[in-house]
C-alpha cells in the first residue's frame, strides 16, 4: 500500500484528491446542500492519508492490522465517504444514496452505518479522546498500526480536545497522528473570532507534541509532513496543523462568504464540477 514519498507520486495523489472532490460534489448535488466547502478543503489531506500514508485493506475494512482513521468532525462525513469510495471500500454506485433513507452514507458520520468509519461524530471534540484510547489499546496489543484523527479548528473550543492533547503526550502516544484542519470557519463565523486559538503551533509544542504546520492544500507539503510525522523518532504524539481553503478547487465556492454550510442552486452543481475539472486541466 505504501508508496515512496517522492514528488513523483504527486500526479497520482493529485488525481486522487481530484476524485475525492468530484465524489463529494456529486453527493452534494443529490441533497442540494452540504458541508461541501469543508470536503473540498480537506480533500488533499484525505488523499495523502488514504493513498500515501495509511495501511489498510479496502476489501476488509475491519482488518486488525489497519491504521485507524477517526473523523472527529462528523459533519465532514461527505469528504470521508468520497475518500472511502475512491479507495474502493464502498462501490461508487453508493454515491447516489447519500443522505437517503437506508443509506450507508448518512449526512453525519456514524460508525455503525459506514464501513471504514471508525467513530460516530456529530457532537464535536470526541474524536481525539477516542484516538487516545485506541492508541493505548494498539500499544497494549504490540500492534504497529497507527491512529490518525482529523479534527477541525472549531473543535479547539472544546475543553475535551485539550484534555486529550495533554493525555496523549503524557502517555507518550507516538502511534497517534492528529491533523487539525484550520480553515478558519465555524458555524457562527471565522474560527479565530469565535475563540482565539493561535498561536497554535506554540501551544501544541508546549503540550509536548511533535508539531508541523503545513499548507493543507499543497500535496507535496502534506506528503512530507505525513512522512515526517511517521518517521519522527521521539516518543511523542504528532500533529499536523493544516491550513486549508474552504471550497478549494471551485473558485466561486472559495469566494463565497457564508460557506460553513452551503446550499447550491441546482444549476450550480454542474458549474462547480465544471470549475473543478477546469482547474485540474489548467
Amino acid at each position: 500500500m505504501e508508496m515512496a514519498p517522492t514528488i513523483a507520486n504527486a500526479p497520482t495523489l493529485a488525481k486522487r484528491a481530484h476524485n475525492v472532490r468530484r465524489n463529494a460534489l456529486r453527493m452534494g448535488e443529490i441533497q442540494g446542500q452540504g458541508y461541501i466547502a469543508q470536503a473540498l478543503d480537506i480533500a488533499d489531506v484525505l488523499a495523502v492519508a488514504y493513498f500515501h500514508a495509511m495501511h489498510y485493506r479496502p476489501e476488509e475494512p475491519s482488518w486488525e492490522g489497519r491504521d485507524r482513521f477517526l473523523l472527529s468532525n462528523g459533519h465532514y462525513a461527505i469528504a470521508l465517504y468520497a475518500a472511502l469510495i475512491e479507495a474502493g471500500v464502498m462501490p461508487e454506485a453508493e454515491l447516489d444514496t447519500y443522505g437517503s433513507d437506508e443509506s450507508r452514507l448518512p449526512m453525519s458520520g456514524m460508525a455503525s452505518y459506514t464501513p471504514g468509519m471508525e467513530m460516530s461524530g456529530g457532537s464535536l471534540g470526541l474524536g481525539i479522546s477516542i484516538a487516545v484510547g485506541m492508541a493505548l489499546g494498539l500499544k497494549r496489543k504490540s500492534s504497529s498500526a497507527r491512529v490518525y484523527t482529523v479534527f477541525s479548528d472549531g473543535e479547539l473550543d472544546e475543553g475535551s480536545v485539550w484534555e486529550a492533547i495533554m493525555s496523549a503526550a503524557h502517555h507518550k502516544l507516538d502511534n497517534l497522528i492528529a491533523i487539525v484542519d484550520v480553515n478558519n470557519q465555524q458555524a457562527d463565523g471565522p474560527s479565530t473570532e469565535m475563540m482565539a486559538f493561535e498561536p497554535l503551533v506554540d501551544k501544541l509544542n508546549a503540550f509536548g507534541w511533535f508539531v508541523q504546520r503545513v499548507d493543507g492544500n499543497d500535496l507535496d507539503a502534506v506528503v512530507a509532513a505525513f512522512d515526517a510525522a511517521k518517521s519522527h523518532a521521539e516518543a511523542r504524539p504528532r500533529i499536523l496543523v493544516a491550513d486549508t481553503l474552504m471550497g478549494k478547487g471551485v473558485p466561486f465556492l472559495e469566494q463565497r462568504e457564508k460557506n460553513h454550510f452551503i446550499r447550491v442552486e441546482p444549476h450550480e452543481w454542474q458549474l462547480a464540477l465544471g470549475a473543478l475539472e477546469a482547474g485540474r486541466q489548467s
Binding site: 455503525s112 470526541l126 479522546s129 484516538a131 487516545v132 484510547g133 489499546g137 497494549r140 484534555e163 495533554m166
Partner: protein, 338 residues
Amino acid sequence: MNTTVSATPPGKPRLITSAMIASIAAEGQRTKSAPFGHALVELARNRTDVIGMTADLGKYTDLHIFAKAFPDRYYQMGMAEQLLFGAASGLAAEGFTPFATTYAVFASRRAYDFIHQTIAEEDRNVKIVCALPGLTSGYGPSHQAAEDLALFRAMPNMTVIDPCDAHEIEQLVPAIASHQGPAYVRLLRGQVPVVLDEYGYKFELGKAALIREGGDVLIISTGIMTMRALEAAKELAGDRVDAAVLHVPTIKPLDAETILREARKPGRLVVVAENHTVIGGLGEAVAGLLMRSGVHPVFRQIALPDEFLAAGALPTLHDRYGISTPEVSRQIKHWLGR
C-alpha cells in the same frame, strides 16, 4: 446484626460527618473493605482484556486495589471525565474491557455526551463504575448523584445496576464483564455493608429477586434501599405489618416478569423505594410498567424529592429525605393507616 436504628440512641444520633465520602455503614454493621477493587482483581486474573481506568479518583472508587495488583493494566487519565470515557471507548474498540471509574455525578452530568456518543451509540464494552450514587455523600449537590438513574435509564444500549451491598458488588463484577455492551454501576466504596448473603441471595444480571415474603405491602427496592427495606420489614413485623421485599438491582433492563408477578398478587400496597430522585428512576419505571400492563395496585414511592439536597451528615439527611429505615417504616405504616 446491628442496624442504624439499634446503634443510634433515640434523640442523640451519632452523626457521621458531612464529609464527601462518609460511610453508609451503620455503626457495628458487618462490612467488607473495597469489594469492587478486590472483585476486579479476581476477575482480571483470568481476563487479560480487563483494564482499570479512572479520572483522579482511583483511591475513592476502590480501583487502587486493582492498580496495585495490575499496574500495567491501569490508566490514570487525570481529572478529565470526558477524556476518560472517550479513551475507554477507544480501548473497547481495540478489544479490551475497560472498567472506568469516577463519581456518579461526573459520569452522569459532565460526561453524558461522551458516554452517549462514544460508548452507548456504538455499543462498546465499557463498564462505568461510579461512586457516591444518590444521596451517599453529605457534601452537597455537587457530589450527590440524585439523577443518575434517570439519565442512564434514558440512554439506549445502557445496562443500569444499583447494587445493595458488598455481597452483590462481588457478584456483579464478573457478571457485567461477561455481558457484551456498556453498563453503568452505582458503586458503594470503602467499608461496604454485607447484608444479602444472609438471605442466600445471588446476583443475576437483569433479574429481580424476592428476598422476603409478606402479605400487606410489597416493597420494590433497589440499591441501599433494599437494605433499608429489609430492616424496615423487621420493624414492621413488630407492628404486625407483613412486608415483602423485592430487590431490583438491574434497573435496566427491568425484570418485568417478576415485578408484574409480584405486583399482581392482590391486596398489597406497592411501594417502590430508591436512593434517587422521585423523577425517572425505579419508581417511575415500575409505575410505567404497571400502567402499560393493566396492573393497578395502590402505588407509593419512597425517593428523594425533586430539589437540590442539603449538605450535612448522612443519617440526618436520610431521615430528612425519607430514606432512613425508621422513615421507610413510618411512611408505610402511614399509607396502610396503621
